[in-house]
């Protein structure tokens, strides 16, 4: 079973190290999900849910003061938690590539776009000309003209910069592309171009895609499955269409109810009571229970296990009490 | 202010300690009249270049109240001295002595400590037989205050000019900045020399003092004004400033309440760190004979005597003690400046 998964995250726990003594503050509290070959999964959550940290963990890019204390991250079968820095550096780019939110921050302003893509090529035994050819072909694949090769980042528009980032991420033909809010900083028309591009590339290269966003309706528009995160855990994973039509977890349900397009003029939006708790100040039991309209006694006392209901995995006592396996569908 | 000190203590221990060292030094300067056992110009003719005479507690193996031995002049020509253990002069506190006024205001005839007939030269004497310890205390007044006053003047000028220039822009800005650039172009060092040479040598020391402060401040404010202007230009575009304009607040209010306070994290740090420059500037002037004149002491001019004369340097190293005080002051101001920079960031509040 395991070899089927391009990405298999099990029981991921990440903490913020406290300055002097004491246990760290848990930020990711047992994150689990899988992605198959050619499958796209969106990790949806608001700020403070831990979605970006999850992506960083997978790439081994956690900052100094945050450390992974438990869990396995199997990227194409290799547990990257256990390997050395050197091995990890190799995997990065070759097995998984990543693109970020603000493309201009991630492109070096003093080098041309082309040279940066060139630099990303990890293969050793090919000549410079061959490398350049690969770059040019990649530029075409992402919808850019050849002359972009010689341009500097500040000469490119936001959309073009993001396409250059995508070229850099895919130049080594990885199996997985992680995209952390790639369209949030872009205009709507540019963003839809990038989404279209990702769809095309996914097909053409047989990519798996991990798409991180706070916009659940954006995700629902183009990914296969959606995982909803809240307070450092995944509270629901399901098929995208299913989740939008029949959300199981109360948070998902209420989050979807916040979408303004679901209301007519003059209606008040049904907002969620309360606010997202700070890490380290989580309420006992289910993290969402103070804001949950369906709260039961058990929710206050214990953390709900992951339960399978139909094709959905959900962490909620409403659907039973049994601990199921945490394997993706 | 209390909050500021508390935060400083939390964030930067060294800065906190430095602050109190400086407070101590400034107290010494203010209370010099009370603490110094001798006036700064009293010459003990027979005791020129006497090494430090420190109090003892043990005598013949027994503890006594603090005292000093007498100083025996071995060889007046070569300035050799020896402790004369036969004569004992107890050190008393709050001794009566000559009446004078602290800071020219409070009359007193008590000194913090002294001996009745003995000599207590804690830091030795200089080539005129004047007590170095007392002169260091009086000298502290000049050196420490020049820094603070000079910096305050620069601060006010720099903030005002820089603020107005940056906020209003246009012709005002152009005019002010060109003026600043002209000022910065002046070779101020030579101007100082020229001015000092031109002024009559018998200017009262107060006038000399003010002249030095003015000269030093004029050098300092120009670059500060330029930097402030740059900061104001960018702060002006911040959204909260636009919101303040939208509220209909007057320009003055916007500049003083919104823009300038947001330059403080830089300016106060820069100022704290530039106080040492003023102190060293005064010392440099004094070293060249252009600063405070004899017999008034400043750390700078005390050093100049020592530094110019190799014999004194090797034979009477205690004459360099003012240098240590300059060093200590500069160091503590630097540490304090670092701490201030930490504290000024509102994210740390």
């Amino acid at each position: 079973m395991t070899m089927e998964y391009i990405l298999d995250v099990r029981g991921l726990k990440v903490v913020l190290k406290k300055e002097i003594y004491g246990a760290g503050i848990e930020i990711l509290r047992g994150v689990e999900f899988t992605i198959r070959k050619k499958e796209s999964l969106a990790l949806v959550g608001e700020s403070g849910s831990g979605k970006t940290l999850t992506a960083m963990s997978i790439m081994g890019l956690l900052p100094e003061n945050i450390s992974l204390i438990e869990g396995e991250i199997l990227l194409c079968g290799t547990d990257i938690v256990k390997i050395s820095q050197q091995e990890l550096r190799y995997l990065r780019g070759v097995k998984a590539g990543m693109i970020f939110q603000e493309p201009s921050s991630y492109l070096n302003p003093v080098f041309t776009a082309g040279s940066q893509i060139l630099e990303a090529i990890k293969a050793r035994d090919i000549s410079k000309e061959e490398k350049k050819d690969i770059c040019v072909k990649m530029l075409k694949d992402v919808g850019l003209k050849e002359d972009i090769y010689y341009r500097y980042p500040h000469q490119l528009s936001g959309g073009q910069q993001q396409r250059v980032m995508i070229a850099m991420a895919l130049i080594n033909s990885p199996s997985l592309l992680i995209a952390d809010e790639p369209t949030t900083a872009l205009d709507v028309t540019t963003a839809s171009g990038i989404i279209e591009l990702l769809k095309v590339l996914k097909e053409r290269y047989g990519l798996s895609l991990l798409f991180i966003t706070h916009d659940i309706s954006l995700a629902a528009g183009f990914v296969d499955r959606i995982a909803v995160m809240y307070a450092g855990q995944i509270v629901e994973i399901s098929d995208a269409k299913k989740i939008m039509e029949t959300p199981l977890h109360p948070y998902t349900e209420k989050l979807i109810a916040c979408l303004p397009e679901r209301y007519r003029s003059g209606e008040r939006i049904k907002a969620i009571e309360g606010s997202v708790p700070d890490f380290g100040k989580l309420p006992g039991g289910c993290a969402f229970h103070p804001r949950c309209p369906y709260v039961m006694d058990i929710c206050r006392r214990s953390e709900p296990p992951t339960i399978r209901k139909g094709g959905t995995l959900v962490r909620c006592f409403r659907y039973g009490n049994n601990v199921e396996t945490n394997r993706g569908e | 202010m209390k909050v500021f000190i508390r935060r400083l203590k939390q964030r930067n221990r060294v800065a906190f300690i430095s602050l109190w060292i400086l407070v101590f030094l400034y107290c010494l300067a203010i209370l010099a009249d009370f603490i110094a056992p001798y006036p700064y110009d009293l010459q003990h003719r027979d005791y020129a270049l006497c090494p430090p005479v420190l109090p003892h507690i043990f005598h013949n193996g027994r503890i006594r109240r603090p005292f000093v031995y007498g100083v025996e002049v071995v060889n007046p020509a070569f300035k050799e001295y020896r402790e004369d253990t036969s004569r004992i002069y107890p050190v008393r506190f709050f001794v009566k002595g000559q009446e004078r006024k602290i800071l020219g205001l409070i009359k007193t005839d008590r000194y913090l400590f002294g001996t009745d007939n003995g000599k207590i030269f804690l830091f030795g004497t200089d080539n005129h037989g004047r007590d170095v310890f007392s002169r260091v205390l009086y000298g502290a007044r000049i050196s420490l205050s020049i820094g603070v006053i000079g910096v305050t003047v620069s601060f006010i000028l720099g903030l005002f000019i820089g603020g107005v220039s940056g906020y209003f822009g246009g012709r005002v800005d152009t005019f002010l900045m060109r003026t600043v650039e002209i000022i910065m172009m002046f070779p101020f060092f030579y101007l100082m020399l020229a001015l000092r040479a031109v002024f009559p040598p018998n200017l009262s020391s107060v006038q000399v003092y003010l002249l030095i402060v003015v000269i030093l401040s004029l050098i300092g404010w120009a670059s500060l004004a330029r930097i402030i202007r740059g900061m104001v230009l960018s702060i002006k575009e911040e959204e909260y400033v636009m919101a303040a304009r939208a509220l209909g607040l007057s320009s003055i209010r916007i500049i003083t309440r919104h823009i300038l306070p947001n330059t403080f994290s830089y300016t106060i740090t820069a100022l704290t760190l530039s106080v040492p420059d003023y102190i060293l500037g005064e010392s440099a002037l004094s070293l060249l004979g252009l600063g405070i004149q004899e017999p008034y002491p400043s750390w700078g001019n005390m050093l100049s005597v020592a530094v110019g004369n190799l014999r004194i340097l090797t034979g009477a190293p205690w004459m360099l003690i003012p240098g240590f005080f300059i060093f200590l002051t500069v160091l503590t101001f630097n540490f304090l400046g670092d701490g201030v920079r930490d504290v000024m960031d509102p994210k740390n509040w």
Partner: protein, 304 residues
């Protein structure tokens, strides 16, 4: 309906040196009626933020006239303008930059309260304003960095309300906020509008939000208003191709963008390079806003 704002041929030109000019606003003609929420939709470079700032008097227009309730703002100077400023306020996009980090929240909100009342009364008013916008008055002596993004936005709203304005420009007020926080802030906007009979100009690149909250909308592209009208008309029957593309992109339908890249001189319709149905005429002539439906205007030759 009473006209509150009237903009006539308002333009804003920036000279970037070397003969390059940017026309941030290109002959804007616009009316806003009292009591409505006027939505402005556009992407970056459309001039929507410049429009808000020009109306607020934060930026001076290079041409044109702006009327607020029959007073010509572009002619007023000095204290008259300062006084009138209290009638209209603005809320910005970035909650992390719109509050002075060195001022306590109470002082920020207090600044706009009119003079002539004593400090104790002003404090009471600040407490009222904070309560109205959902911030506990006990926290009024805290600094901005001690509040979350959504809370800071509420404080900005309280500040805007402190001058008892009749009109508020909301410049992307929820774009930096989470979905659940956005919902609450949008609700707050609607409540305040009802309670204080406010008129809004709501600027956003997010069509879904504008669609929800606005009564009439204007679509801006490169400094021009290319289409405007009642929200239902513009959103359901967009005339200008750009409006169509915007709506499709937002709702994830494939947008009908031109495949051919066209070059553009300095004349003609600005949308020519990307327009899927451009004709020769569009290259040479600039379309003006024409009525295409009741109260629905579009600047496109297609409609003729």
């Amino acid at each position: 309906m009473e006209i509150m704002w009237k903009l006539i041929e308002v333009s804003k030109r920036y000279h970037l040196g070397k003969g390059r000019d940017v026309l941030a606003l290109d002959r804007i003609d616009m009316k806003i009626y009292r009591g409505e929420t006027f939505g402005v939709i556009g992407e970056s470079g459309s001039g929507k933020t410049t429009l808000g700032k020009v109306m607020m008097g934060l930026i001076e227009p290079t041409e044109g006239k702006i009327y607020f309730r029959d007073k010509c703002l572009t002619d007023l100077k000095g204290s008259e303008l300062l006084n009138l400023r209290k009638e209209f306020q603005i809320i910005f996009q970035d909650p992390y930059r719109s509050l002075n980090p060195r001022m306590r929240v109470a002082d920020t909100v207090m600044e706009g309260i009119r003079e002539g009342i004593d400090r104790a009364e002003k404090k009471e008013r600040v407490k009222e304003l904070l309560q109205m916008t959902g911030i506990e008055p006990e926290r009024m002596y805290n600094y901005p960095h001690q509040f979350s993004g959504g809370e800071r936005q509420r404080i900005s709203i309280a500040r805007a309300l402190s001058t008892t304005p009749s009109f508020i420009v909301c410049d992307e007020p929820t774009s930096n906020l989470d979905l659940s926080v956005q919902a609450k802030i949008l609700n707050l906007f609607m409540e305040l509008k009802e309670r204080f009979h406010l008129t809004y100009m709501f600027i956003s690149h997010n069509i879904k939000v504008v669609n929800f909250i606005a009564d009439r909308v204007a679509v801006m592209y490169k400094g021009r208003i290319v289409e405007y009208g009642r929200k239902e008309d513009v959103m359901k029957n967009p005339v200008h191709p750009y409006t169509d593309i915007l709506i499709s992109s937002s709702f994830f339908k494939k947008a009908d963008v031109s495949e051919i890249e066209r070059l553009q001189g300095r004349q003609g319709c600005l949308f020519f390079p990307l327009c899927p149905c451009a004709k020769d005429r569009c290259y040479t002539e600039i379309p003006e806003l024409e009525e295409v439906g009741k109260g629905h205007f579009a600047a496109c030759f297609k409609a003729e």
